[in-house]
């Protein structure tokens, strides 16, 4: 008997549970749902490509859950390596794996355990990849602890949206994003349909502000152990720069140095309560992760991915909060899309120009005439790098960019389809325009 076949059939009944919900229709299905006759031919097993961002506490659970829900083509990105303190909840890792890439070890583990599942690891930052990479996925799931990373991927998925000639969103360009977050016994799950429902940027104020203490308190009148730790972090470290590097919250040597200095300071002020764990918490700005919260949130995220990919039930609309401090409480509601959201609130307006031979000054004149702008500042992004074309209100920039006014757009790196960002007092936000040369048909990627 062929070995490959043997492995494939090792679990003849592995998917019999999925058969029920994928081969039968029900009253709560998405209107698109079409029962399939053979589950192994189903979209999730053949075509569907999932990207998991983060292979930490949530990521490990997500990978395991997705694999067991039948997804076979999964990619995972994580820039971190495995640390001893991860082992209590990031269950795909063992002691022998310490120091290795989280993404790689996690992928190997899943691929071994679940024959037929193919997890591709990327030991990278999310910023290492471009649009081309992200466009290949059907759904993105995030298990992140960073707001910056969430905002970045949110912006990336929104930039992948395309619009037809009538300005209507092309639904095939939407890559749904399922985002999970946990903090101690609290967590949340949300489903984002970029361009359609509330995005990360629309609801930025849902993220709690960082806990900070007044600088003068930590410098002159510390009262709490946290004040002593912050003092070392904010003032003493940059001054003494003991390891000639920025603080790395995951480096025990760094944490230990901060711990020792903070203890000294606490003793000096008769303050008790500085301990290693607290130091780590304050430096990394984290609330300790709880394995069971991660399990519940990652599971709820996976259910949403499964529902979106199969249409076998309607997805969450669109935000669930979870808290199991007192009993178990969840609340589900629809976060609202913000019309003036900086990320998804505006679709690029088309600005028709005669040709890329016109001067920047002419373009600005056109903006002031057609949009009654007063003093527009114009920037763009060329090969991922920000470029200030002209900014009249700040004299040092104005002087350095004045020359650009006489240049034609082509020489400034702009072409048909380029986007420009225009800031002006007449509008509460920076507006985005896409240039369209009148004679040519627009070629937007």
């Amino acid at each position: 008997m062929d070995v490959a076949v043997q492995i494939k059939d090792a679990f003849p009944k592995r998917w019999c549970h999925l058969k029920k919900v994928l081969e039968r229709t029900g009253p709560f299905c998405h209107p698109d749902f079409e029962p399939s006759t053979d589950v192994t031919n189903h979209f999730i097993m053949t075509t569907c490509k999932i990207l998991v961002i983060g292979a930490g506490g949530l990521g490990c659970e997500l990978l395991k859950n997705l694999a067991l829900m039948g997804f076979k083509d999964i990619h995972v990105i994580d820039m971190d390596t495995i640390d001893l303190s991860n082992l209590n909840r990031q269950f795909l890792f063992r002691r022998k794996d310490i120091g290795q890439s989280k993404a790689e070890v996690a992928a190997k583990f899943i691929n071994q355990r679940i024959p037929g599942c193919n997890v591709t690891p990327h030991y990278n930052k999310i910023q290492d990849f471009d649009e081309c990479f992200y466009r290949q996925f059907h759904i993105v799931v995030c298990g992140l602890d960073s707001i910056v990373a969430r905002r970045w991927i949110n912006g990336m998925l929104i930039s992948l949206l395309t619009y037809d000639d009538d300005g209507d969103l092309e639904q095939s360009s939407i890559i749904p994003m399922v985002d999970g977050g946990t903090e101690g016994f609290k967590g949340n799950v949300r489903v984002i349909l970029p361009g359609i429902s509330a995005c990360i940027e629309c609801t930025l104020d849902l993220f709690p502000p960082q806990v900070t203490y007044p600088l003068c308190t930590i410098a002159s009148t510390p009262r709490l152990p946290e004040h002593c730790i912050e003092y070392v972090k904010v003032i003493q470290w940059p001054k003494e720069n003991p390891y000639e590097a920025a603080i790395d919250g995951d480096d025990p040597v760094h944490i230990n140095w901060i711990y020792e200095k903070a203890s000294e300071r606490a003793n000096q002020f008769n303050i008790s309560g500085v301990n290693f764990r607290l130091v780590q918490g304050v430096v990394k700005n984290i609330i300790p992760a709880v394995a069971s919260t991660n399990a519940a949130i990652a599971a709820a995220c996976t259910t949403e991915v499964f529902k979106i990919a199969t249409s076998c039930s309607v997805p969450l609309s669109n935000y669930m909060v979870f808290n199991d401090v007192d009993g178990l409480y969840t609340y589900t509601y629809e976060a609202e899309k913000k019309d003036d959201c900086l990320a998804c609130g505006q679709t690029a307006k088309v600005l028709e120009i005669k040709s890329t031979e016109i001067k920047l000054q002419q373009l600005i004149d056109q903006l002031t005439e057609s949009y009654q702008m007063k003093n527009p500042g114009v920037t763009t992004s060329i090969n991922g790098k920000n470029r200030t074309l002209y900014l009249p209100t700040v004299s040092s920039i104005e002087e350095q960019t004045r020359e650009n006014l006489k240049k034609n757009l082509g020489d400034l790196g702009l072409e048909n389809g380029s986007e420009i960002n225009v800031a002006d007092v007449t509008s509460p936000n920076t507006l985005v325009f896409v240039l369209k040369v009148a004679s040519e048909s627009m070629q937007v990627e």
């Binding site: 290949q136 639904q171 003093n375 700040v394 920039i397």
Partner: protein
Amino acid sequence: MIKLFSLKQQKKDGEATPKVGNQKKASAAQLRITKDINELNLPKTCNTEFPDPDDLLSFKLIICPDEGFYRGGRFVFSFKVGPNYPHEPPKVKCETPVYHPNIDLDGNVCLNILREDWKPVLTINSIVYGLQYLFLEPNPEDPLNKEAAEVLQNNRRVFEMNVLKAMRGGCVGSTFFERCLK
């Protein structure tokens, strides 16, 4: 209800090898800072310098107070705006050594809106005004430089002389200050 991947189409294989992410669109932080910078409405005592006009995320603010203790001085602040702007405030440091109760000798600045009272609705302009105010009304109740705060509290004359001494380039106590008069 929307029809997501109604074709359940095979997606194009992407580049699996890392390529530096070049998003075609400017990030939300970038759009916001562009707006902030374009709408800077500086008091006449303040000026900005952008070493690289393409990089709106790092720049300098120069304050030359025309009244108060610090009249005639020239103070340079560096601004670094992070990718989490405006969820997090920019990092601001004073690059000119200054004898001031709310600014320490390493350039740390004690201004509430730079830390605990920062809100995303605030702008770069709000910070500029906050910093300018620090030179008009140094606040001995929130000291970073305790000695300076105590002198200000106990004897405003002595404080005024110390400030002048420091700005002219000289020692206050055992600390030497470089000249920063215009």
